[in-house]
Symmetry: C2
Subunit: 78 residues, 2 copies
Amino acid sequence: MRFVVVVKLKQGILDPQGKAIRKVIERRGEKRIKDIRVGKYFEIEVEGSNRKETQKTVESISKDILSNPIIETVDIIQ
Amino acid sequence: MRFVVVVKLKQGILDPQGKAIRKVIERRGEKRIKDIRVGKYFEIEVEGSNRKETQKTVESISKDILSNPIIETVDIIQ
């Protein structure tokens, strides 16, 4: 079973990586970028036939290992 | 205008970061994860009213700055 997990910084948390990328783009002459925020994207293949139960496993992994719940949010897609 | 860009390693390209995460999860006792692949996720806010034209700007940034087209693919969402 395949899941996609997206980990993003919570709103209000500064994103220095995104800021740096925006500066690079600006220096290249593209001035229309107002904001870039960077997140992490995971494709996870899990053994299991029960979708609900497998999703719980993915949720627990996402919270415990893939993200820092203090500053990040997790979206599980599919 | 808001775009989401997902950059993933091409199929067949090894993903040592994903492999390392899988090992950590396995060591924690969760044996059902068959594969994890890690990508990059960007939320980009662009000034512009013409969606098609703005999307072209985002495509060019994605190919030139956000990804390495030799080993990565780019998906632009929304």
